[in-house]
């Protein structure tokens, strides 16, 4: 069952233009998701460094790894970090965190910080869940909906397809766009059904690219269905690992009819961690008063 096709490379980034030694306050946010974990460190409220790692079978270890990898090579010691907020499904089990806050609140806050106060709808496409979040200009949540019951539309569903077709997951998006014309989508109701359909399509002569296109299309359709339950208001932003799959993203935007969309920088996958770190900063500064 296990192959290497689902693996994407873990990485860390630090801001070359900042010197953390000059900062007064260092705080961190750790987002332990079901598939990936991110650690984000803010220096005086600006993103200084972050990591994107694969979640292991153990939450505390995954949290530790995410933060360690983020600060590696920067000279920051764990004790330099004044406050840590944990988020993600593993948040209740992060020993180093001072507080746990839901990933809904953290994603809204993180998207608002990275993409600006005009964002009103955030779509988070995670490893094992889909979230639709409405927020105001301050990044406060005004409505949310989360589906984590079902693999259709999640990263795990995409991993199943990548494994089936033996395609590295980072190439899926581009390949799916490399088709002569858009094929009809496969089942969007269940990954297991979609997988059976894909096998049949391959046997009847479809190329891998066509099958990927059909699956990305099904995923986009599923995701838009969820969003429509709460409505989509501009500006729109996408977070989570699948935000990096251009095949799915382009099809979602197409189905939404060209809604004004903000791309989150430096990395859409760290929105939860950034939001958590911002909450950490607030809570730390409040405690000092």
């Amino acid at each position: 069952m296990t192959t290497e096709y689902f693996r994407w490379i873990e990485y860390a980034w630090k801001n070359p233009d900042m010197d953390w030694h000059k900062a007064e306050t260092l705080v961190a946010g750790i987002d332990v998701g079901s598939v990936s974990s991110q650690g984000v460190v803010l220096a005086d409220g600006q993103i200084y460094c972050y990591s994107n790692t694969r979640t292991g079978s153990n939450s505390p270890d995954s949290a530790k790894k995410a933060l360690t990898m983020a600060i590696e090579g920067t000279g920051i010691r764990p004790e330099d970090i004044k406050f840590i907020v944990g988020t993600g499904y593993g948040r209740v089990n992060i020993p180093s965190a001072n507080k746990a806050i839901t990933e809904i609140a953290c994603h809204a806050r993180g998207a608002n910080f990275m993409g600006g106060p005009t964002i009103r709808t955030v779509l988070d496409m995670g490893g094992q869940d889909l979230k639709g979040i409405h927020c105001d200009e301050r990044g406060k949540v005004t409505q949310f909906l989360m589906n984590d019951k079902c693999a259709a539309g999640t990263g795990r569903g995409m991993e199943v397809m990548a494994e089936l077709l033996q395609v590295p997951i980072t190439e899926v998006g581009q390949m799916s766009l490399d088709v002569a014309e858009e094929p009809p989508s496969v089942s969007s109701t269940c990954v297991i059904f979609a997988k059976s359909e894909a096998i049949g399509l391959l046997r009847s002569g479809w190329t891998k690219n066509m099958v990927l296109a059909a699956y990305c299309s099904a995923m986009a359709h599923r995701v838009v269905g969820l969003l429509e339950r709460i409505g989509v208001e501009k500006d729109f932003a996408i977070t989570g690992g699948i935000s990096k799959n251009i095949g799915v993203v382009s099809r979602i935007l197409k189905e939404l009819g060209g809604i004004p969309t903000v791309t989150l920088k430096p990395d859409a996958q760290i929105a939860g961690g950034v939001g958590a770190a911002l909450f950490a900063r607030d809570l730390y500064l409040k405690s000092k008063k």
Binding site: M1, K149, G157, I192, I199
Partner: protein
Amino acid sequence: MITAGIDVGAQAVKVVIVSDGKVLARNLLPTGFDPQESAQKALDGAIHQAGISRGDVKRIVATGAGRKSIAFADRNITEVTADAKGANKLMPSVRTVIDIGAEEARGISCDAEGKVIDFAKNDKCAAGAGAFVESMARALEIKVPEMIEISLKSTKDAPINATCAVFAESEVVSLIHTKIDKADIAHAVHDAIASRVASMVRRIPIDKDVALIGGVANNAAIAEAMKKHLGVDVLVPENPQFVSALGAALAAAA
């Protein structure tokens, strides 16, 4: 009159040939990617088994998820109707029929004549039915018969949070790494399915006798878990997987 019933399921095509209320033959083939072709082959096989010729079969009725794709059937009936008819023939005392297939589970309330009064179903989600059992067997790296066997010996449940067959597969893989007994995982899986099916069935009136049919009825661990969750005895007929096709064959003769 000799008639045939064809039940085109998500995973398997079942054929039953009946002559004046008596079963002459039963046959089963995987549905595959061409349901009509598989149905034809399955029918041919059953005809051969019964020692008759194609011309002897006067009428064919199709049922199941793929019933509309069988062009050579004279007509088709819903799975719910077929289930009730077939169950009533085999067990006339039955008033509640539970059919658990590969991808769908149904609860049917019927009268003494086998007519449907009410029904509920769990559909379009592989976690509600047989596909979940198979997906878990794969994750446990054992075959389904072994999974049933060890499950019957277990008395406690391993914690499985996932309600999706795909997520549960990953969850089980990590559970195995923590040295939890496979038997307890198997037990938890069967319990989860039975619990889900029982909740669905409770949306219709549950009157005795209660029968369990469909491919998954062959799974003794599920049958036991169903009894526990419903709090009543559950009858499993012989050849539970063919009850729907039998119902279709009987409908053809009516």
